[in-house]
């Protein structure tokens, strides 16, 4: 598993799991893999994995029941998932601004992409 050596690994793993949750790989309330399983999967120490879980808990995405395991926060959907999507969208907009696009141009670009995708999906 590749990580960025310049920043804490527990945050990088936390962000990956957050993405999985927000993308809907886990349903709200669903049990996540155990710390040990994740540690083996990511090839990191169990302590790093514990920290990643604590990070996700602090972010409100995960709840941990002692001795049972960690679960996707059943009430996270509304707030956290939305925040995540917004921050992704904001990052995209920022990047486009850096490339010199105006607001309407960005909107046009997004519309175009969505349209293209729909057409592709329609053909398939």
């Amino acid at each position: 598993m590749e990580f960025d050596a310049a920043s804490p690994v527990y945050i990088q793993i936390g962000e990956r799991i957050r993405e999985e949750i927000v993308r809907g790989l886990y349903r709200p309330g669903e049990k996540l893999r155990s710390v040990r399983e994740y540690a083996v999967f990511y090839e990191v120490s169990p302590l790093t994995m514990h920290r990643a879980m604590q990070y996700l808990e602090a972010e409100g995405l995960v709840v941990t029941r002692k001795g049972v395991g960690s679960f996707v926060n059943p009430r996270m959907e509304a707030s956290a998932a939305r925040r995540m999507r917004e921050s992704q969208a904001r990052q995209f907009v920022e990047k486009m601004r850096e490339m010199g696009l105006s607001g309407p141009e960005i909107l046009e670009l997004v519309q175009e992409c969505v349209r293209e995708e729909a057409e592709k999906g329609g053909k398939a």
Partner: protein, 252 residues
């Protein structure tokens, strides 16, 4: 004695010195091993990695200073995973299982048998006829099947082809008991650094212990690059050996 922190330790070395033939190898070093941690011991050739492990194992006694062990009930203080080269090569897996069972009361034979079977290591073949990867996994299976609070492994990834290193990492992570710790000497810091909680750098007879996550967050470099910078090696450059030159330089 200095004021104790409340934190639980498994092993504490204080001002430990060790020399071979009056040549000092380790000078007044300190080491703390907390439960549930994976520590990597890094250092150049002859920096004292194996000596440090043997001091931790109790196979060597410090000539100065103290090595204290705090052993949770029901566990033994250390399990030194003997490198395949230190096990009798003519022994088969079955022989080694019997050997461990006779030597160590805390050896869980069924677990070890289960591990060998799940790894596909034949029990009737002598150690010297196993592949190097299998031999290492066999020695680690034996070592981890003891009920210890501290496991020691000397260069578990050396002699293992790169493609199999992941198997060894995952094996260790899967079977290490949760509250126990692992101290391993390594040349392959780059291969191990993400599974290390702490790094112990041996350099100029001293030891420095630091958390790998703080290396990454404070200095923004990998544990391996940090180690190279700390030991005056810098980043290895193509074509230059560079060792020796930087070695003696005193830092301000």
């Amino acid at each position: 004695m200095r004021e104790e922190t409340k934190e639980r330790l498994l092993l504490r070395m204080r001002q430990v010195s060790f020399s071979y033939d009056r040549k000092p190898l380790l000078r007044q070093i300190h080491l703390d091993v907390r439960p549930g941690r994976i520590l990597g011991v890094a250092g150049g050739n002859g920096a004292g990695k194996t000596t440090l492990l043997k001091l931790a194992a109790g196979l060597l006694l410090p000539q100065e200073g103290t090595v204290e062990r705090f052993v949770p009930e029901g566990l033994c203080p250390v399990s030194y995973c003997m490198p395949p080269g230190e096990l009798p090569g003519w022994m088969t897996g079955r022989d080694l299982l019997a050997y461990y069972r006779h030597f160590f009361q805390d050896f869980r034979r069924q677990q070890a048998e289960g591990l060998l079977d799940s790894l596909g290591i034949p029990r009737n073949r002598p150690l010297y006829r196993l592949s190097s990867g299998q031999a290492v996994l066999l020695s680690l299976s034996l070592g981890l099947s003891r009920q210890a609070c501290l496991y020691l492994a000397d260069e578990p990834l050396s002699h293992i082809e790169p493609a199999l290193r992941r198997d060894v990492r995952r094996f260790l992570l899967r079977y290490m008991p949760e509250e126990s710790s692992l101290l391993m000497a390594t040349h392959q810091l780059g291969e191990l650094e993400y599974m290390l909680d702490e790094l112990v750098i041996l350099h100029r007879h001293t030891a420095r212990q630091i958390e790998t996550e703080s290396i990454r967050s404070q200095y923004g470099v990998s544990a391996e690059d940090y180690f190279l910078a700390e030991t005056g090696r810098g980043k290895p450059e193509a074509g230059t050996s560079g060792e020796g030159q930087g070695e003696r330089r005193e830092e301000p």
